[in-house]
């Protein structure tokens, strides 16, 4: 496990100077080489896995034996297979890889490689080399905790990046705000202070403590993850790269559909582009495409039953909202239009309550949590 400070100090002391002080043609390669050296030092297996899967997903398209359709299937297949081996929580999961642990950033680079394979198959990528692809994958700010940035955007920034003091200032500000979210709000406030408060509250008011604990888990996950994203975006800006936003005040979303446009935006957009849109084109059934997208979004976190159910719940929530909208439009006198505040309240609670499934270690514990809530 890596300490956040190591990555930030490594970036500030080595990556940023290398990105601007070296001769221009060496700058991007230096970022990638330093990232590879960093990864080799802290997690050699992770570096090896990333290099192997990157090689497989790139060189399969160079094969004279395969047609493009076969190459894209093979590229996606190998990335998904590696991801499933390491991220599986099914009962059959047992083997040498359990001793190795999950390679750092696996879920992120798996989806980056799938994105690359599909776009390369569609021939939408600009001209690039094997080195460009490696530079894209070995980019420390976004490598470990996202956002799932896109290859064409990365290439565009490689070609356009120029020193800009205003951009560096914004980058430093984002890193600072990210730190505040992670260290002050996430770790100190949500995890520790609120944790102590709930422990003290539990004997007298178990239902209230359980309810607040559910809100605390979702709130903590949000501020921590939004904090990582701020730091990643800020560090990218310090290197001259503009990485897309990953959060946009999701807990103010008035419905679940909107919520998933604001929460982990890079993953939602990935699911939209590579699951929802293709399925909609193939089947012309938007409900099926939404359900499949949300299942993939859930399973991205972990290949397990609880994340499958969690993803399915998000899909059902969005489907329900779509049906409600349609019904309300058809019969405005029968079905009331929800006020925005009520929509925000219901969306927030639906999401927080669904997170009980992923918070608890077993289904018995999930049932016990809801039982305590009602007791």
């Amino acid at each position: 496990m890596l300490v956040l400070h190591t990555i930030v100090f490594f970036s500030l002391l080595l990556l940023v100077p290398a990105a601007w002080l070296l001769p221009e043609r060496w700058q991007i390669s230096a970022i990638s080489l330093l990232t590879a050296a960093f990864l080799l030092y802290v997690a050699p297996i992770s570096a090896l896995m990333l290099l192997l899967t990157a090689a497989a997903s790139y060189w399969v398209f160079k094969s004279a034996w395969l047609r493009p359709a076969g190459a894209v299937l093979l590229a996606i297949g190998q990335a998904v297979a590696v991801w499933m081996v390491f991220k599986s929580e099914w009962p059959t999961h047992a083997g040498w890889w359990t001793q190795v642990g999950v390679p750092l950033g696996l879920s992120y680079y798996t989806f980056r490689q799938i994105h690359y394979a599909i776009e390369r198959y569609k021939q939408t990528l600009p001209h690039h080399t094997w080195a460009d692809y490696l530079r894209y994958l070995f980019f420390l700010p976004t490598m470990l905790v996202g956002p799932i940035n896109r290859f064409p955007d990365f290439l565009r920034d490689v070609r356009r990046r120029r020193w800009d003091a205003a951009l560096v200032s914004v980058g430093l500000e984002r890193v600072l705000y990210g730190y505040v979210k992670v260290v002050v709000l996430g770790n100190a406030l949500f995890t520790n202070h609120l944790g102590h408060l709930l422990t003290a509250l539990e004997p007298q008011h178990p239902a209230l403590a359980t309810y607040l604990g559910i809100l605390r888990f979702a709130g903590n996950a949000y501020v921590q993850f939004a904090g990582y994203s701020d730091i990643a975006i800020g560090l990218s800006l310090l290197l001259g790269f503009r990485t897309g936003e990953n959060f946009a005040a999701p807990f103010l979303a008035p419905n679940l559909n909107d919520f998933w446009k604001r929460y982990h935006i890079s993953l939602s957009q990935w699911c939209r582009d590579y699951v929802f849109s293709p399925l909609l084109s193939l089947t012309r059934r938007p409900m099926l495409a939404i359900a499949a997208s949300m299942l993939v979004l859930g399973l991205w976190h972990e290949w397990s039953g609880r994340y499958l159910v969690w993803g399915a719940l998000q899909g059902l929530g969005i489907l329900f909202w779509h049906q409600y909208q349609k019904f309300a439009e058809k019969r405005p006198n029968v079905v009331p239009v929800l006020p925005v505040w009520l929509g925000v309240f219901l969306t927030l609670h639906f999401y927080c309550f669904s997170c009980v499934i992923i918070r608890e270690p077993s289904w018995q514990a999930v049932a016990h949590t809801f039982y305590r809530l009602l007791s």
Binding site: M1, L2, V3, L4, H5, I7, G101, V102, L104, G105, L106, S107, Y108, L144, V145, G146, E173, L176, Y177, Y179, V180, V182, V183, V184, G186, N187, A188, T191, N192, H193, Q224, F225, Y228, H301
Partner: protein, 45 residues
Amino acid sequence: MYSILSRYLPGRVAGTLTAFWYVFLALLVLYYAFLPSGQFRYAHW
């Protein structure tokens, strides 16, 4: 922060307040980062 403050305040005042704001946040982070309660490790996604 500066862009927001400079809409309502003279540039120099906005700049000074922004600098204080950053120092305050940095001290807050440093205070918590070195306490066990503020220690942070990357989640394993």
